[in-house]
């Protein structure tokens, strides 16, 4: 009990097996009191599994090894028990109920009540205090569905605070946030540190980790590789990547010499009105050109109108009222539906692969051919042999890891799902490929492979529009970058001239 001062959490020799796989293999994690401890590793390295063991999602007995919290051995049977000790985990996919208010969500399962009757006055007062603590300026009775993802994240944290959290675990907290929101969140975590709350943060964004973490533990293939002290060990991002993938990735982005040719697409004066609020222009007189073989980046904060612009161009998938001109190969064209868009050679790879991109309960094969069934059918009768052969070819080309093309997409890892989504659109043989956050939430290795595929597609003479919230990705991949703010194109920067500062300046420019 004397060493209690040093470590708030010790996880010793944790081994967790699933049928056929060892997800965790003698993992050790030691977290000092009051520090911010980052957990790094590729997808499937075992980070989330480790946190599920810690929080009691996988109860005591289903794993081997010891968990010591404040020097005492813990044997959690469920999440309630770990939360009682102040261990709170905020998952990547938020667990808020959209149709309940902020206050109701914060005290869900933990209601301020007497004999089952809720004391609303107390609930609201306490909610306001909590919201002030996390810097969220919203009324406690606002419905969750009416606030942005960034704000929802803050509500989750407020909820954690309401449980008197001692160890806060954040799983990919910034993956759905834009730069400003991420900044806010990170400084909030630093503030908590001042107040003595220990945090474990799981993130793919190495720059964020470098910014706030005191220690970093790297996992790879279910094993602890090393624990680094940020101050002492003089850590660089490359150093972390080496630990995570087990080899040097000399470049985060593959080398590529663009072969840019004539203009393939011009968007002129593209304006889109918000379907929920007909007064508001979500996209405002945007002008964009794309040339064959060129990767055109679009930078912008969340809500800048990037996705809305892309989806409205792609067969009016967003919005009801819009105007402007689309010129492809120097000919004005009219796109009224998704079918039109596909026929004119457009492809849109959505940022939301689970809800808008893939049918998770269906096979690789059926997902990959869905947008171009005509190619594998004759008078609407599907030639299954032809289908399997062409899908198999794509699967090999994009190196999708699956047992075969019949496997369900829902059982694949995030990176492989993203590749399936990408290959679904490659299969339509598009001329213009709009990629919306194509590497969100996937690991470094898979990112590199997707970048390579994007380069190959560009080299085939396709025009590529790359929407991304990660500025390094745009800087590394795009030949030319447009910045957007509040629906307007606020700048156009060539690759050679671009850097984060310039982009940020334009992204926040008004008018």
């Amino acid at each position: 009990m004397n060493q209690l001062a040093e470590y708030i959490l010790e996880m010793n020799d944790i081994t967790k097996e699933f049928p056929g796989v060892k997800a965790l293999d003698n993992v050790n994690l030691k977290v000092k009191k009051g520090e911010i401890h980052a957990l790094c590793g590729e997808n499937g390295a075992g980070k989330s599994t480790l946190m599920k063991v810690l929080s009691g999602v996988y109860p005591y007995g289903t794993y081997s090894g010891d968990i010591l919290f404040n020097g005492e051995i813990c044997q959690f049977k469920d999440i309630k028990q770990s939360e009682a000790l102040g261990i709170v985990i905020i998952h990547q996919e938020l667990a808020l109920i959209p149709d309940l208010s902020i206050a109701e969500n914060i005290f869900l399962g933990n209601e301020r009540a007497k004999n089952g009757v809720i004391n609303w006055a107390e609930t609201f007062i306490q909610t306001e205090t909590l919201l002030k603590k996390v810097g969220l300026n919203e009324s406690p009775d606002t419905l969750i569905r009416n606030i942005s993802v960034g704000k929802q994240q803050l509500v989750e944290i407020a909820k954690a605070l309401s449980k008197e959290v001692k160890l806060l675990i954040l799983d990919e907290p910034t993956s759905a946030l834009n730069e400003t929101e991420s900044e806010n969140l990170l400084s909030l975590i630093l503030e908590f540190k001042e107040q003595g709350i220990t945090s474990i943060i799981i993130s793919h964004k190495l720059n964020e980790i470098m910014k706030i973490a005191d220690s970093i533990t790297i996992l790879r293939d279910g094993k602890t590789i090393e624990t680094l002290n940020v101050k002492k060990d003089n850590i660089t991002e490359d150093r972390l990547i080496r630990g995570m993938v087990g080899r040097d990735l000399t470049h985060r982005f593959p080398d590529h010499t663009p072969k840019i040719a004539e203009t393939i697409l011009e968007i002129k004066n593209w304006t889109v009105w918000n379907p929920a609020n007909p007064e508001q222009k979500v996209v405002d007189h945007a002008n964009i050109t794309v040339r064959r073989g060129e990767i055109v980046g679009i930078a912008g904060l969340m809500g800048a109108g990037r996705t809305e612009m892309a989806m409205s161009i792609f067969g009016r998938s967003y919005g009801k009222k819009m105007e402007g001109q689309i010129i492809k190969d120097n000919k004005p064209i009219e796109i009224k539906s998704v079918q039109d868009a596909i026929r004119h050679g457009f492809a849109y790879v959505t940022e939301d692969r689970k809800n808008l991109g893939l049918n998770l309960i269906s096979s690789l094969k059926e997902n990959m051919t869905l947008a171009n069934l005509r190619k594998i059918s004759n008078k609407s009768v599907i030639d299954e042999g032809k289908e399997i052969v062409s899908v198999e070819e794509l699967r090999k080309k994009l190196r999708i890891k699956s047992s075969n093309v019949m496997q369900l997409v829902g059982n694949l890892s995030g990176g492989n799902q993203q590749k399936v989504l990408l290959s679904k659109w490659v299969f339509t043989e598009p001329d213009i490929l709009i990629l919306d956050e194509p590497t969100r939430g996937i690991d470094v290795g898979a990112k590199y492979e997707i970048y390579t595929i994007i380069h190959q597609l560009a080299d085939q003479g396709k025009g590529i529009i790359l929407i991304s919230s990660e500025l390094p990705e745009l800087l590394g991949m795009a030949d030319r970058i447009y910045t957007m703010n509040k629906g307007k194109i606020t700048g156009e920067v060539l690759k050679e001239e671009a850097n984060q500062e310039i982009l940020m300046k334009y992204m926040t420019k008004v008018g």
Binding site: N359, I361, E366, L370, S380, K424
Partner: protein
Amino acid sequence: MFIALVLIMVLFQVITDGILLRPLNITNLVMQNSYVLILAIGMVLIIIAGHIDLSVGSVVAFIGAISAVLSIHMHLPTIVVFVISLAIGACIGAWQGFWVAYVKIPAFIVTLAGMLVFRGLTMLILKGESLAPFPRNFQLVSSGFIPDVFKGSSLNILTIAVGLLCTVAYIFIELNGRKKQKKYQLQTTSGPLFVARIIVIACLINVFSYIFATYEGIPYILVILIALILAYSFVMKRTTMGRQVYAIGGNANAASLSGIKTPRVTFWIFVNMGVLAALTGLIVAARLNAATPKAGTNFELDAIAACFIGGASAYGGIGTVGGAIVGALVMGVMNNGMSILGLGIDWQQTIKGLVLLLAVAFDVYNKNKAV
């Protein structure tokens, strides 16, 4: 589930002292349960697309009433009555499909309304009474047999011949499929297993055709059923239309963003359900030889239960025509077996309910085990 069906059949065969598989009873079983089979085919499409149709029972009664008026009061020829009835079925489907697909009202509500509306209209048309009898050729749909062209004395030779023909066709299709699988280097079942399966199914086909042959031969209704089953299985498995239905049920947003006209597909599967419900209405009216205000009561529940017993997912995106048929047969064999045993409707309902729950629970358990 196919194995469960076989087990249930064996069980009832034993406890009914062999009555279940008697030629007369097998023929009866097909005729009595044709309504669930046809409705289940339409219903499984709707369930795969992520919707539900509660109105089919009422539509069955409504079409029965319409056909009775056309046939008995107006003395229209049977063929004309059939065409008009099926067209009205299509219109009913279009009506409900319009609300579901284009106005985006949940199918549960639209078809619940339809259930009340069409039951009400049935009573209006029939003025609360039954209409009977139908002309002789109208009744034939549900009770007629294909005449034996070979005029066998105790054995219907045509039936045996058809059985043999089907066996040949079946073996040919299987071999062809296997050749294709080999060509594209897919996994194939091992040789002995493949041969064993062919032999078992070939035997089954011929045993059943023999059973039919020793009674009156092939009922017309069986021909309709088999044609529907084959056609719809083909559409769902092998055509782009089928693919689109699965895609909509699996993830409607993703389907729309892949260029599938989601509302249009949804609309048409409701039209299809309307036509199949109308067909069922005609068959039920012909079999009862009367149109009654109470006809088709709870048919929707039997059809829905058949789909779920047959492995369809209540969330859409999963299910097969074959599965729904097996599910419908499970219900049918149980209905029939329990009737032979003299169990009352009270016990029949209770047991069917439990079987539905157990079948789905078993499915869920299997899926969880697989993950």
